[in-house]
């Protein structure tokens, strides 16, 4: 018996439950009540409201990613410069929240913002759209920060120290070394960090649903509503999901272009 046969149960499973379900996005986008039509597809695409929401989501995801990068880079940099054994222990503390349930972590913030703060300060915090947006951003950054630290740390800790010494020997000061040597060499880590935060951030709907009382209304929330609370929302929802998939594919392609070494990886 050849060993490759062992993969066959998985291949059958993969076709049935990974490949086939993907087809349904296209099936339901063009099949409304059992009849093939492009009507709903065109209707959805032509609706400017969805594009405005998508733009808003990209904006929120972009800000989240930028803040995560700014906060995570110093963490990863400091860790990578520490003694290996100490850094390994501290870095685990940063990665482990990644595996903690999103809903739970978001609920913790809900309890703080909605129940605890008003009692302590005597004022309600989340009253208008600006404060909602800020709160959503804070919680999104909180949820995604470990996903940015991990790839950055992986790249920075593998950096060849002798390059830094060489840069110093050639007369560059610390700041120049950082910007001319360390930063360019850590691009793969930055890129995979951005991928790990930006794409989930576009699709995240739990944070806005829980923290901002549904505001700002993001793309993920719109899709969720189509599937969960609109009867016959499959057609519109699928079309929106196709647009989302295209966005994901485009950003993955862009990222792959920068990240040729496939750095990143995961713990465990």
């Amino acid at each position: 018996m050849k060993r490759k046969y062992f993969a066959y149960p998985y291949i059958v499973w993969m076709i049935l439950f990974i490949a086939v379900p993907m087809i349904f996005i296209f099936y339901y986008a063009f099949n409304v009540d059992g009849r093939w039509t492009t009507e709903r597809f065109v209707q959805t695409i032509a609706n400017g409201d969805y594009w405005i929401v998508l733009l808003k989501s990209v904006e929120i995801a972009f800000i989240t990613t930028a803040i995560c990068l700014l906060l995570a880079y110093p963490i990863a940099y400091i860790l990578s410069n520490m003694k290996k054994s100490v850094a390994a222990f501290i870095s685990v503390l940063f990665f482990v929240p990644m595996w903690m349930n999103f809903v739970l972590r978001t609920y913790a913030w809900y309890a703080i913002l909605e129940f605890a703060f008003p009692k302590l300060l005597g004022v309600k915090l989340l009253t208008n759209s600006t404060s909602n947006t800020i709160a959503v951003l804070v919680v999104m950054v909180y949820d995604f920060l470990p996903f940015m630290v991990l790839p950055l740390y992986n790249t920075l800790s593998k950096l060849d120290r002798s390059l830094l010494e060489a840069s110093r020997d050639l007369g560059a000061n610390g700041v120049t070394t950082f910007f001319r040597v360390v930063l360019p060499l850590s691009v793969p880590g930055i890129v995979s960090g951005i991928t790990m935060v930006f794409i989930p951030a576009i699709t995240a709907f739990t944070v806005t649903a829980m923290i901002g009382h549904g505001k700002p209304n993001l793309y993920g929330n719109v899709i969720e509503k189509q599937f969960k609370s609109t009867s016959g929302g499959f057609a519109t929802g699928s079309t929106l999901a196709i647009i989302l998939l295209i966005c994901v594919m485009v950003s993955t392609l862009i990222m792959n272009h920068f990240d040729k070494d496939k750095e990143g990886g995961s713990i465990l």
Partner: protein
């Protein structure tokens, strides 16, 4: 100056860790808070004011009509799905490893789909799959089976990608040698190959387990009546959730992951030190 800079580093790391852990610690602390209000009911929205220590919240989790079953369901799905995913995934990894390069690349790139796909897309595709199966083929898949199928599917790739590197390290000769020594192919796998790649299988299993416990989005879209723990929290958070419901499963999980990872690091370190000693000799 240097000393200031160095202490600033630690302050920064400390602040970030505080930011990451404070909300979790906050929930843990208040899971021991007495929430009994004047009317005798449990007012979980009064989280933030300390009224006294009690273990009652943890007892209340199991008597709660929807939280209790949600915990049981979550654990059942996590254990069964990760076990199944580990078996299918390990077998798949062994098979994939012996494939020709072109087939291997094709299979592996499809396998990456569930890992790169946003949860939202995975959730709605499964939702549509089950809707299609029930509306056009007339087969109604129960919630338990739905959850199981979905969780196994999104876990398998993680098992494959943690077993494969181990297989690459392990020698092909091992299998051949076992065959030469009179093992049947199955015996050769069970007695020679599997023990060799066991660390990969274990970490794959743990990954699958955490993926399943961590999932909210997929379960939220596909289950109709039964709720997993995270879906339960999501559907009832507005009026306050018993913090013990939130901590009872996830805090032990995080603690377990911390211990597993720290031990792994400690082991690696020991190994490194030993290596150094050998080199010095």
């Amino acid at each position: 100056m240097k000393r200031v800079l160095r202490s600033f580093k630690y302050v920064y790391l400390g602040l970030m860790l505080l930011f990451l852990y404070l909300p979790i610690v906050y929930l843990i602390v208040f899971s021991f808070n007495d929430f009994t209000s004047v009317s005798g009911r449990q007012a979980y929205s009064s989280i933030g004011t300390w009224k006294g220590f009690t273990l009652a919240n943890y007892g209340a989790v199991f008597t709660d009509r929807s939280a209790g079953p949600a915990i049981v369901l979550t654990i059942e799905i996590a254990l069964i799905s990760s076990l199944a995913a580990t078996i299918i995934g390990t077998a798949a990894a062994i098979g994939i490893n012996s494939m020709r390069k072109r087939t291997r690349t094709a299979v592996l790139s499809v396998s990456q789909l569930p890992m790169v796909n946003p949860d939202l897309v995975t959730g709605i595709t499964f939702m549509m799959l089950f809707a299609f199966v029930s509306s056009l083929l007339g087969i109604n898949v129960g919630d338990f089976a739905r959850l199981l199928i979905a969780h196994i599917s999104f876990s398998i790739p993680y098992v494959i990608f943690s077993v494969l590197p181990r297989l690459k390290q392990s020698s092909d000769m091992l299998y051949e040698a076992a065959l030469d020594l009179g093992c049947s192919p199955i015996q050769a796998l069970l007695k020679a190959v599997i023990p060799d790649i066991m660390p990969g299988i274990t970490s794959g299993f743990i990954m699958a387990l955490t993926m399943s416990l961590d999932d909210f989005v997929v379960s939220y879209f596909i289950a109709k009546e039964q709720q997993t723990l995270s879906v339960h929290i999501y559907s009832s958070f507005r009026h306050g959730v018993n913090p013990a419901i939130a901590t009872i499963l996830f805090v032990p999980l995080v603690a377990m992951l911390l211990i597993v990872n720290l031990r792994r690091i400690a082991k690696e370190r020991e190994y490194e030190i030993q290596n150094k000693k050998v080199k010095m000799k």
